[in-house]
């Protein structure tokens, strides 16, 4: 995983709540067997509308998505995170994220930041009025900054440490392989097994 320390970029204000992962990346894109090449499918249905915010020329190259509450609900597809990253987003700000999407994002180095809806509204107002306005997402200081806005955010300290250092979860877990082996020896014999095929 890539390290995330701090990022500054222009924003896309997405005034929608309950943006589900089927909207972020529709199911027919999920047939791909890679982690790349999903940018074309990001918000595919909405991008057919020329008025959609992502189609506005001044939003080109923006890297911080600022969305309404309940972002990332529905399907567990990690492809939603890959699509956002493939497109160029480095961070997503919302007042509420769905649990699975949030977990997926933080495992891929896409920083999902929870801010109060009132602060989200202020960032929307700022970036709608001035598309060139930059938003800084600072993981070291745990703060989001933009013109006239400085909002601190919370993130689990262990998750933050992994992101700041770009650590791989599996390697960390395997350092405790002995604990796993010890646990396995205590598992009752009635626990289900998939093999051999009966």
């Amino acid at each position: 995983m890539e390290k995330f320390t701090t990022h500054t970029g222009r924003a896309v204000p997405l005034r929608r709540s309950n943006v589900d992962t089927d909207q972020i990346i529709p199911a027919h894109w999920l047939k791909k067997v890679t982690r790349s090449g999903f940018e074309g499918g990001l918000f595919e249905a909405w991008r057919k509308d020329p008025e959609f915010i992502l189609n506005q020329p001044e939003r080109g190259g923006a890297s911080v998505l600022v969305a309404g509450p309940e972002f990332g609900t529905g399907s567990s597809r990690e492809h939603a995170v890959w699509a956002l990253q493939n497109y160029g987003f480095q961070a997503v700000i919302s007042s509420r994220f769905a649990d699975i999407f949030r977990g997926n994002s933080l495992k891929n180095g896409l920083l999902t930041v929870v801010l109060p809806q009132e602060t989200v509204e202020r960032i929307w107002a700022l970036t709608e009025a001035d598309p060139t306005a930059e938003v800084t997402v600072d993981l070291e200081a745990r703060e989001v900054r933009a013109e006239g806005i400085a909002a601190s955010f919370e993130l689990d300290e262990n998750v933050r440490w992994r992101l700041l250092n770009g650590l791989d979860d599996i390697s960390i877990t395997l350092q405790n392989a002995d604990d796993i082996t010890a646990f396995e020896q205590t598992r009752p014999s009635f626990k289900p097994r998939t093999l051999p095929v009966l």
Partner: protein, 473 residues
Amino acid sequence: MGRTLAEKVWDDHVVRRAEGEPDLLYIDLHLLHEVTSPQAFDGLRLAGRTVRRTDLTIATEDHNTPTLDIDKPIADPVSKVQLETLRRNAAEFGVRIHSLGDVEQGVVHVVGPQLGLTQPGTTVVCGDSHTSTHGAFGALAFGIGTSQVEHVLATQTLPLAPFRTMAITVEGELPEGVTAKDLILAIITRIGTGGGQGYVLEYRGSAIRGLSMEARMTICNMSIEAGARAGMIAPDQTTFDYLKGRPHAPQGADWDAAVAYWETLVTDQDAVFDAEVVIDADELTPFVTWGTNPGQGAPLGASVPDPASFEDPSERVAAENALKYMGLEAGTPLREVKVDAVFVGSCTNGRIEDLRAAAAVLDGRRVADGVRMLVVPGSVRVALQAVEEGLDKVFTAAGAEWRHAGCSMCLGMNPDQLAPGERCASTSNRNFEGRQGKGGRTHLVSPQVAAATAVLGRLAAPVDLSSNVAVEV
């Protein structure tokens, strides 16, 4: 202080607990399918890792599989590659797989329980959000992303953030014609799509105790639509009776030891939930969705709501967007909403009891002219059982299409899709924009409502059907 069911199962799986770290939890059962696993196996290969416990891992093909002409090569080349990738990965890493054409093939969340692999007090994961289904057995079961799939393949564990607990207490008895699907849709509308966020829900109370295992699975399946981490129901005699004799259920002395353990898996009297919701089962009626998220639902007897009636500004905007997408006018009685298609199937309502319920309504009746009805069993085993009972004949005699097992039109990854603008009454779990096909419009319903809707061509319950079944069909 006492512990809740969820806390007990969690505690029994902690491999490692350390200050400032998430608990490392052991995973008893890992289910795989073709869509969310290829990148995980790639990750293993890149790092030179193996699958730690192939004996706790099982794969089936479901999301992409066609429901017609399954003996012919898969027409969509991209789907074909994805299915072949799973087969190759399963062979290379030694994972048991049930491919298209195999008698144990089917939707992953139907297959696990019917094999008896899903058991009380286990931890179950799958790269699929509807893994919450397995919570019906008193398992702690949740959907994970592909990075976590790779993590479980490599370590059989997951580091997990703590959860909160919510009791959903349903007292009373579901009235005639009201099903588990109506109940869960009503619960989601009550608490909202984010209401369960961070929580493991425990469904309890006399109405839940009275439900069959399959109905309990329908309830737990849609916990994710309320944003919950998982949904659970304490195991009881109904659970044990369902499991006894299944291929992977414990046998002999193991069975006795297992039941003795399972019987401890109840929330202690003095345990405290972080939140509680109480629902009166007797008050419920058939429930349907009118919008584009599962929390936008109403009793079938109600009308399409006026967005202005929502106090919360983001809910109001969401309702406006939903009505626009759905092509609905506020104030229209839901019973007047006409449909083009009906889908019976999915991990929510694709089991034998669901097919029986739909068939009972359709028996001797016809699907309305201009309405296309698809019946897709959740697994090959369910299909075989339905055929044995003659249900397939009831469906085809009524003019419905009887298909092969798979996820099918729940998400339209295979050719079973709605055309733009088509409206569907669906027993699946998500009414998101475009979920069943680009531009398609979905109303989530129970199998009974689906069948009655198919007959009348508009949203309806069996009670709306004339008692005089047409003889000259």
